[in-house]
Symmetry: C3
Subunit: 109 residues, 3 copies
């Protein structure tokens, strides 16, 4: 199992959640964050905006879903030609996952 952490542009949130829904992934957790990339923010005239609003999305997936979910997020979150600030996707290994309602541990599909 993997935890996919995606940092995206806020205006791409609906695209991403609909793209995930279309491939059967409904469950996710999201929250607003502040992000900057390697280019250290956005320069407008003399002002350097280092702190730009982004959204973080956490999605748990089975190994069998991982590549399709990563692709769906990237395709939905990218701006038309791809621009700095489009964000990043990190895939973290998960040792165990549980559903609180049932108390049951997930079995890898």
């Amino acid at each position: 199992m993997y935890l996919i952490q995606s940092i995206i542009r806020p205006e791409k949130m609906l695209h991403v959640t609909e793209a995930l829904s279309a491939i059967g992934v409904q469950a996710l957790t999201k929250f607003p964050v502040i992000g900057r990339g390697k280019q250290c923010g956005l320069k407008v005239g003399n002002i350097n905006y280092k702190d730009l609003p982004k959204e973080m999305i956490f999605t748990m997936v089975d190994a069998s879903q991982k590549d399709a979910v990563v692709k769906a997020i990237i395709d939905a979150a990218r701006t038309e030609d791809g621009n700095h600030g489009d964000g990043r996707v990190f895939v973290l290994p998960v040792a165990e996952a549980y559903t609180i309602r049932s108390g049951q541990q997930d079995i890898e599909a």
Copy 2:
């Protein structure tokens, strides 16, 4: 060492922190998030509430504490009969952990 990421109902926060405290785990980090599960939110009449408020809790544990902490969180966060929306617990491997005050790296207990 493991990082336990729990997504719970906001109204269960005090139950969970007290359950953790009762087994000797005081240290935690928490923040509000928006979550949905496999059932994609809550349907009330014709309205589908896809974005429901949850709380995320991060807890670092030694391998020896992991199972007891997961159980304590699940038992404290579950509604009486267990319901969709009670949340999830993810256990992530941690490579290294440090205390900033001392600069020291944690040694696994």
Copy 3:
């Protein structure tokens, strides 16, 4: 690759981002959290402040950068003599990382 999760005092944020910038790490994600350590908050008179504001910083690094980044964060986030509440640094293994702009997967440096 590693995801470094740092929990720091809010007033140390600028010190930490400048220390990271000085060693060539510009990219980061940050968000406000509530934290408490092993001492379970701060006691002032009869009142126990269990919920203290902290900032979380997520930084992705190559294996070759890990130790320097951890050291930079600790040195910049620690109060003069080191105090409870200075925070923690967790290093999590990352399986894969992608840049949304290009769709490309990171290659470990």
